[in-house]
């Protein structure tokens, strides 16, 4: 009985981990190529959720699932073009200050437009319900989230691994000077990466809107965990981030089982432990220009 129950918590933890994954991957991608730790990444998640609540009555949840990430991706494009682009070269502290400021502006803007109270929103009727496998219980909606998230992760991996676009991005991560010497401008690639990353964050926001409070601080809450996931996984490592997200989910699930008050603290403890033992993260790549 207890063993089955622990297994259930582990499986549930994997589902929790997936929630961080889409955000953490975008965070990692923008950092790897542009050298910017995007503290505004949580804001794109929150805006995605708010857009979903605003759009769903008009075009349905299915429509919002597509429209909201597209709209936020466009917003990301504008921000990359006019703001982020100026900071790739500079002192990393400037990029941090910029994105930290953007995050605060976005959170306060949401508060001014939509109010501080959580916006009412629920799971669409066609996704409600539970799935039972043996004695294990799953929310049907969470399984749907899992499927969409896994499809995105796989798609992103194929894009980076199998296409010429991905080859340039990976080369740009390792050695931008060489890419430039070959006559390839990284600018359009950087724009595309930001669009993809912010779009994924908005997709995560859309998918979480039915099961978590849609309120202005939701971006800041998730960003902290996504950041921890990236650090544990190792900057620049795709599968490191995936693995870290799942580990963080499982650690949270098991701590909730064993000692609830430490549920959140355990994740930070894990990060400290990983940084002590493997300062580069689990699978952090050696990127010469960041050393």
């Amino acid at each position: 009985m207890t063993l089955v129950f622990i297994l259930e918590q582990v499986l549930n933890g994997l589902l929790i981990g997936v929630q961080y994954l889409l955000i953490a991957l975008g965070l990692s991608l923008i950092f790897s190529l542009g050298g910017i730790v995007n503290l505004a990444h949580g804001a794109f998640y929150a805006i995605g959720a708010y857009l979903t609540v605003a759009l769903a009555p008009e075009i349905g949840f299915g429509g919002a699932l597509i429209a909201s990430p597209l709209a936020v991706g466009l917003l990301g494009l504008v921000i990359e073009r006019f703001l982020l682009r100026r900071f790739y070269r500079g002192d990393p502290a400037l990029g941090l200050l910029l994105t930290f400021g953007l995050a605060m502006v976005a959170e306060q803007a949401l508060r001014m437009v939509f109010g501080a109270a959580p916006l009412p929103f629920g799971i669409p009727p066609w996704l409600r319900g539970q799935v039972f496998i043996g004695d294990l219980i799953y929310s049907r909606y969470r399984l749907a989230i899992l499927a969409v998230a896994l499809a995105c992760v796989l798609g992103l991996w194929l894009l980076l691994k199998k296409t010429s676009f991905g080859r340039v991005v990976r080369a740009g991560v390792q050695n931008p000077d060489m890419v430039a010497a070959l006559g390839i401008s990284l600018r359009p690639y950087m724009s595309a990466v930001v669009v993809i990353a912010t779009g994924l964050a908005a997709l995560a926001g859309t998918m979480m809107a039915p099961v978590t409070g849609v309120q202005p601080a939701m971006g800041a809450e998730i960003l902290t965990f996504a950041f921890v996931v990236v650090v544990i996984g190792g900057l620049g490592s795709f599968w490191g981030v995936v693995l870290a997200a799942l580990i963080v989910g499982v650690v949270r699930g098991l701590t909730a089982y064993a000692y609830p008050p430490a549920t959140e603290a355990a994740v930070y403890g894990l990060m400290v432990l990983v940084l002590l033992l493997r300062p580069r993260g689990l699978f952090g790549e050696h990127i010469a220009r960041f050393e």
Partner: protein, 418 residues
């Protein structure tokens, strides 16, 4: 082309990133260099963080109250000015309270939701001999061991919340001989509420099947829902706070667990935020927008006209406290805090936008008042996003003393420090 910096240190990025995430919100200075002939009321309440959704109602309600007071001629012919700020956390709350009293010369302080911040403000109030009316902090300790001569409580103490909900739960047969699973917010308010809840449950033959302390920043309840499912309790008791309640309701409904839900702490805005079909259970409230008293409905209408949504219980607290302050100052023709304290201790009665008038108990400064227990309506009976529950008649009933829900002197002794 080398558009990317080549000397970025990964470590410095990590360090700076971590610092930025953890950096506390910067306090914005109050811009209050006003005219001499106004009476200032200092209003402090959390406007960001997990209590932010309630703080917004508090600010709107206090603003509305001051507008109405000024429209009716102000206080002793002087205009009232509201200085409203985000109290953030106990340290910031204390610093801002001190600045409001010393620099802005506010006549009194009103507000707060977080019990720890309310305690910090009460220490400033005591030092400065300035009236502080607590509008949202529930901990019994604020009325007992930590009570202060200059602090009054419009908000109900936890014991009153527990006993109000408890009466409704006893009637529904959800307490006697039942197994209870309790989820509790892991900070001062939750700990205190859990203590009072346990006293009530033990006194009524309920047993605890499980209890978990939930960190306030936690947003995913699924691990706890699985634990509850395994424990198979007769009833799930929520002693949660702020945004936690919204997340819990959404996810409890997502997992479709069959156990009845009840709570001893609650705020209506958080149920509104859970979305259609997600609100369930029986909860205590100090006030709600369907209270029938004429002055309550007048407040609801004015609030709706100004803010396009009904007020909830936190709005009631700040609106009522501000009105009480104005009424006391007008009656006394003075803004002197010490005189107001004596007046309030003297048992003055106020229209508190409920059926019966309220008064402060002299020995612990708690407002004696009616409470309500609300129960979620089934989804097919819900007509709009706000009227999502039915309410009991006011508690205690018309025949009972207003004091029966509150702690007695023996239960929660208060000795005002000199």
């Amino acid at each position: 082309m080398s558009q990317f910096g080549d000397s970025i240190s990964r470590r410095s990025l990590l360090r700076a990133g971590g610092a930025a995430i953890l950096a506390p919100a910067l306090a914005a200075p109050a811009l209050a260099q006003g005219q001499g002939d106004v009476i200032r009321i200092g209003h402090l309440t959390p406007r960001t963080g997990f209590l932010g959704p309630l703080g917004e109602f508090a600010v709107q309600a206090a603003t509305l109250a001051v507008e109405e007071i000024n429209a009716a001629g102000g206080i002793n012919g002087r205009k009232v000015e509201l200085l409203s700020e985000d109290s953030v956390n106990p340290q910031t709350a204390s610093a801002k309270a001190e600045r409001m009293v010393q620099r802005d010369k506010v006549a009194c302080l009103v507000g707060e939701i977080n019990s720890a911040s309310a305690l910090a403000i009460s220490q400033v109030a005591m030092r400065e001999k300035t009236l502080f009316i607590n509008t949202g902090a529930n901990s019994d300790a604020l009325r007992g061991a930590d009570c202060k001569r200059y602090m009054f409580h419009v908000e109900a103490q936890n014991t009153m919340m527990v006993r109000a909900a408890g009466r409704a739960l006893l009637e529904k047969g959800l307490v006697k001989g039942k197994k209870v699973y309790a989820l509790t917010a892991d900070y001062a308010f939750g700990h205190d509420l859990l203590k009072q809840a346990k006293k009530f449950l033990a006194a009524n033959d309920a047993t605890i099947a499980g209890e978990d302390l939930i960190p306030t920043e936690l947003t995913d309840f699924s691990p706890f829902l699985l634990k509850i499912r395994q424990a198979r309790p007769d009833v799930v008791i929520c002693n949660l706070a702020g945004a936690q309640i919204t997340n819990f309701l959404k996810q409890y409904s997502e997992f479709g667990l069959p156990f009845p839900v009840a709570g001893f702490g609650f705020d209506t805005a958080l149920a509104w935020g859970a979305g259609p079909g997600n609100f369930l259970g029986t909860w205590p409230v100090i006030w709600h927008h369907m209270v029938e008293a004429p002055s309550a409905q007048k407040f609801v209408a004015a609030f709706k006209a100004k803010y396009k949504r009904p007020p909830e219980n936190q709005a009631w607290g700040d609106y009522t406290a501000t009105k009480i302050v104005a009424s006391a100052m007008n009656t006394l023709k003075s803004t002197d805090s010490t005189k107001i304290v004596e007046y309030l201790e003297g048992g003055a009665k106020f229209d508190i936008h409920k059926g019966r008038e309220g008064y402060f108990r002299p020995w612990d400064h708690e407002l004696m008042q009616e409470m309500y227990a609300i129960t979620a309506l089934p989804a097919d009976k819900v007509k709009n996003p706000y009227d999502i529950f039915s309410s009991t008649a006011p508690l205690p009933g018309p025949g009972d003393s207003l004091e029966v829900l509150a702690t007695t002197k023996d239960e929660n002794a208060c000795a005002f420090p000199a």
